[in-house]
């Protein structure tokens, strides 16, 4: 290896033959995947296909059993200890929001920056208010999560992740727990985030969002990546039968 690759062309996230087992059950089976800096990847697939497991491996919420993941130069290997280091670079938004119910919105946003990034309280609050404005709820800072609607809570959760200034954002079905009328307010915030050049991996079945925002769409089934293509090709000419069936079902309900 004499010639060094220019940094920009190296993938920001790289999966190399990654497998993950829960007991005897294989949740991920030999995943190979590269995500470039600034890329937006949408992952879809039937329930239980391993979508959540895949993105949870990226920030070390799940330990992999074989293969290797490299996230912005940090390697995650079976039994390895890279998780803490990776979490500083990766933000995550959950289906169930997972806000801290005993803390105000502002405290939810400043806990990580103050305790883990060592920011002063004043700096952390300034950052928090900036991101709250960006997700369009600057006036809710002093409230507790349960006083907010689902859509507002999920936007707080996005702001909470952004306060850590991550280079990568992971979304695990961010709109699946929301009432239909609140889905768009969250998708709009995510679309704006994509426009800032954030690297994003989004597990979702919102195909309109995938068409608009994704650089590539991934279809997973039974712990494997079955199909991966840019949205125009993915939606018009999927190669595998399983993917065609899945898209059929999504469209007809």
């Amino acid at each position: 290896m004499s010639a060094e690759m220019p940094e920009d062309s190296a993938p920001l996230i790289e999966f190399d033959a990654v497998s993950k087992d829960f007991g005897k059950f294989r949740a991920l089976n030999g995943i190979d995947l590269e995500v470039g800096r600034g890329e937006r990847l949408v992952i879809c697939g039937p329930s239980g296909s391993g979508k959540s497991t895949l993105i949870r491996c990226i920030n070390g919420l799940e330990q992999i059993d074989s293969g290797r993941i490299v996230v912005d130069g940090v390697a995650l290997e079976p039994g390895g200890r890279g998780a803490r280091q990776v979490r500083g670079k990766v933000g995550m938004v959950f289906q169930q929001f997972n806000l801290f119910p005993h803390l105000t919105v502002l405290e939810n946003l400043t806990l990580g920056p103050v305790r883990a990034r060592g920011l002063s309280r004043a700096d952390a609050e300034a950052t928090a208010r900036r991101y709250l404005a960006r997700v369009r709820i600057p006036e809710q800072a002093e409230k507790y999560p349960r006083q907010l609607s689902g859509g507002q809570q999920q936007r707080v959760a996005i702001a909470r992740s952004l306060c850590m200034e991550p280079g990568i954002m992971l979304f695990d079905e961010p709109t699946s727990a929301l009432d239909p009328e609140m889905i768009n307010e969250v998708l709009d915030v995510m679309t704006e985030l994509a426009e800032t050049g954030m690297t994003m991996i989004v597990v979702t079945h919102e195909m309109g969002f995938a068409r608009r925002v994704a650089d590539r769409v991934v279809f997973m089934d039974a712990g494997e990546i079955v199909e991966m293509a840019p949205p125009d090709r993915f939606f018009t000419a999927p190669e595998s039968q399983r993917c065609r069936d899945f898209l059929q079902k999504l469209l007809h309900h």
Partner: protein
């Protein structure tokens, strides 16, 4: 609770007329009655102080025993289990005697009555505290850990700022029960000479030979003390709830 207290008060007032009672021993209008009353009440300070110190220690120990019970390492879970089973199978009275008379021989340290009482009460209660904390921590959803980890908090900060504050709110009623239990069980420390409420009553009974009146006062002392504590706990619960809504 208030009604029960009023009822008991009424009952006492009535029984005072029946002639079988000799309330003079604690009649505040006579000098000796007033002195006796003050003597009985002088144990209050020790009862409260003993219980407060013991429950502070038992909660700390309980938490330290509960955390390994939740660890992924089987040997840590087993060690925690053994501690709980062992400690809670010893009767408190036996533990008090063992700590006061036995422990100094074993270690060569002499223990004051107060600290022997504190150690025995705290030890005994810590097994129950461990179970309470374990249940409370287990009741917090996994998503809370994951959210904390994903904003880069480590295990300690996650426990301290995210998990324990929520667990504490949930176990507050159980902790209140333990404090009440502690206040009552502290009466057993009278057997090694601790000058708390029960000991004072025993000593006065020996002098005055009026067990009915003196022990009735003792009952009332515990009743009032515990009513105050339980309404304090409920006030705290309401305040914490109001905080979040």
């Amino acid at each position: 609770m208030i009604r029960i207290a009023l009822f008991l008060g009424l009952l006492l007032a009535l029984s005072g007329c029946s002639g079988n009672w000799g309330w003079y021993v604690v009649d505040p209008r006579t000098t000796s009655g007033w002195n006796n009353l003050r003597f009985l009440l002088s144990g209050l300070e020790y009862t409260v102080y003993l219980s407060a110190v013991a429950i502070t220690i038992s909660m700390t120990v309980g938490l330290l025993v509960a955390l390994p019970a939740l660890s992924p390492f089987p040997w840590l879970r087993r060690a925690s289990r053994v501690y709980v089973e062992l400690v809670r199978s010893v009767p408190l009275l036996v533990l008090i005697l063992w700590v006061y008379y036995g422990l100094p021989q074993l270690t060569g340290l002499t223990l004051s009555v107060f600290w022997a009482g504190v150690i025995a009460l705290a030890l005994s209660d810590s097994a129950f505290q461990a179970e309470i904390f374990r249940g409370g921590i287990q009741s917090i959803a996994r998503g809370q850990y994951e959210a904390a980890y994903s904003v880069s908090l480590g295990y300690r900060d996650t426990m301290r700022y995210v998990i324990l504050p929520q667990a504490l709110r949930r176990i507050l009623p159980a902790l209140g029960n333990q404090l009440i239990y502690m206040l009552k069980m502290s009466s057993l420390v009278s057997v090694i000479g601790m000058q708390e409420l029960t000991r004072k009553a025993n000593e006065l009974v020996v002098v005055e030979y009026r067990p009915l009146e003196i022990y009735t006062i003792l009952v009332l002392e515990y009743l009032v003390l515990i009513l105050i504590v339980s309404s304090g706990v409920r006030w705290l619960e309401r305040r914490l709830q109001a905080d979040e809504s």
